[in-house]
Assembly symmetry: C3
Homo-oligomer: 316 residues x 3
Amino acid sequence: MKHFTSVDDIQDLNELIALAKNIKQAPFANKKIGENKILGLLFFNPSLRTRLSTQKAALNLGMDAIVMNLNTEGWALEFEDGVVMDGNKAEHIKEAAQVVSQYCDIIAVRSFPTLTDKEKDEEEQVISAFKKYASVPVISLEGATEHPLQTVADALTIEEYKTVKRPKVVLTWAPHPKALPHAVPNSFIKVMKKADVDFVITHPEGYELNPEFTKGVTIIHNQDEAFADADFIYAKNWSNYMDYGQITCKDPSWTVTADKMKLTNDAKFMHCLPVRRNMIVTDEVLDSEASIVIAEANNRTYAAQAILTKILDHGE
Amino acid sequence: MKHFTSVDDIQDLNELIALAKNIKQAPFANKKIGENKILGLLFFNPSLRTRLSTQKAALNLGMDAIVMNLNTEGWALEFEDGVVMDGNKAEHIKEAAQVVSQYCDIIAVRSFPTLTDKEKDEEEQVISAFKKYASVPVISLEGATEHPLQTVADALTIEEYKTVKRPKVVLTWAPHPKALPHAVPNSFIKVMKKADVDFVITHPEGYELNPEFTKGVTIIHNQDEAFADADFIYAKNWSNYMDYGQITCKDPSWTVTADKMKLTNDAKFMHCLPVRRNMIVTDEVLDSEASIVIAEANNRTYAAQAILTKILDHGE
Amino acid sequence: MKHFTSVDDIQDLNELIALAKNIKQAPFANKKIGENKILGLLFFNPSLRTRLSTQKAALNLGMDAIVMNLNTEGWALEFEDGVVMDGNKAEHIKEAAQVVSQYCDIIAVRSFPTLTDKEKDEEEQVISAFKKYASVPVISLEGATEHPLQTVADALTIEEYKTVKRPKVVLTWAPHPKALPHAVPNSFIKVMKKADVDFVITHPEGYELNPEFTKGVTIIHNQDEAFADADFIYAKNWSNYMDYGQITCKDPSWTVTADKMKLTNDAKFMHCLPVRRNMIVTDEVLDSEASIVIAEANNRTYAAQAILTKILDHGE
């Protein structure tokens, strides 16, 4: 594996999940592989799980991790080509990406979408520029359109908790007070298409995601109907994609409640976190045995460690 | 030791101080104990000594330390139960504490008091929530009402510098331009009650601390009288406790001066730092041989290392 | 070497460059030297290259590196003596420097000039205070008047890329939208005076640097004339020194262009970065084979590692 910025960079999902499971059994077994290597974690946005779990994954492999909040600790970056840099941007991404490549063996970057400039977001301006100019592998810590590290953890979690060979997995939209990105649902959809699951998406009409991602997936606008016989409920808010970045629905009837969970086949409840309690999901569900959100967060470490292992083991 | 968030968590002060003294003699002697373990340091407030000394203590024990400024680098946290999270708080402490517990073997937290909401402060809302929801040990890096790591360093320093078996220790209030917390004096009082010292508190009338802490301690409102024959002067400002969080006195006659120090038995001068020069204490005193504030700061490392050792050695 | 805050701290430039070249050949060969030692990196200003390369240098030597953004993560520092500290400054540099010395084996500090108070800047108020009060070695990560770590990397880069025994090196001013410090040109001039090069400075009239630095150096106000037969073009903006900290020229004819480079002896283009594209230098030059700015940035690691090695090997 060279870069890891999209679910598309996974060649064999089953093999990757198997690797992550093995790592989870013996997380310190491979500490030589990262010796004298540095993972640079560059954040343009807040992070808790990704920041901690990816550092832990690097340490587990014997790497050193250096974290930078680029906006506040470094220089404002210019991403446009050919510009006369006479404004507020002190450094061009061309130099920044090449320079960081001199100091770090792998560069990991978090850069959320603007949610105002659809074209720029879909180009993955920041992550793409790092891939273009860096001379070392680049990992996405959540880009504008995908969050593939989260998704590997999700797939590992479903693999661990499934009780039938081919579980029914439902991705459900839920209300939220702020406009959120599409990265998590996009990557989740991509990975569910590769997995041996019966996959359904449910959301209010008008909340269709980018059809490039959802093509071929069953979409049901009646949440109750979608929940029937589900083995996993994966809740997530996203802002409107067609009316880009807007909030056009806050319907509280889409909140995942205990009554809704009764429609399922004793489904497990999943969410990438952070989660808004009593908006996305009620306390009752989140505090019940059905919720596996903490185990899911724990798997972030092993997902990241599997990806780092594959990159360090290049050739694969 | 499980958690360490209060002086009350110390079972045997003498044994702890003896451990810290041993560690100071050979700080790298126990580097296996922390191998493959991560200390997470979570800051809601500024820090210099605590931040550096606790990281150093972890490194000395072979641990890795990961630092996060939660306010700026993570998500705003909700601490109330049952809330519909439709405001600015993105994550509930229930998830945050459990999640951090997946990545860190010990969680250390700094969270200052509001100084406006006495009830919330006395509940130690933040530290208590971490203790309640985390699945790993929690250390206070200064909470709303106690700063026990500072106090262990103070006790170690007094042990090292005392020239009589039972020294007289005076905690004196001193003026300050800003409203300061009660955590340092509270913890210092608790530890002095356990130590073999003659302990006196002096402060202006009306500046009584929480009587739960001062119960049984001699309080003198005449600073000169209190200083007579003292072996240690421990200066500290705190804001008014009864008129909660207010500054009702800035009387410069309470500043510790060279003349005041002459009333003592060649006392050593102590302060937790940072210290406001010529407010709390004059340059003359702070720059004199009597001042042991730097040695006291140095002992922060060994205090933290003793606490980490006891937590890693659980069973004790 | 005790401190390293100026090019003047280099006793033997050739020997230092030879050491850096050796380190570059085998960067992990000396990992025992830093064992159980901590480098504290204290930033008052943004940094990318310095922050990452100095951390990497420390890790390569087996040290641990602890980074603090003092302005936002610590306490506001007072630098004046004898002050009654009743304002916004919570801690005096006297305590801060001594305290950090308890936790770190070497202290590295970045503190840019005010560009408004020439006297304070020329006193190197912050770096000088750390040197005065710290009990451990102090390294400049760029002070008000010098950036010696950059300059060691520059000298190493010239040594690596020169094709004649005594190359011609031209330091040229170039336009910039913001008022920039003099630290990089000052240190570069100092080191070029020690190196076996034919050294020329070119800048618009009125943009003279501090004559203490430029004394004895050829200064030419005609950039084309200066570029003739040059082997290295080192571009850098600085604000006006005489009209202190002001921008009195933005003349775009001083931008380094491909046509200008044709006047040289196939010169290499150097810059400390970050660089404003199409202000300092055109895309065409920066993206050409002549540009060695990335190699120059890479050498920051080995320059820092050579300095850390000399400090850890004290006696030298």
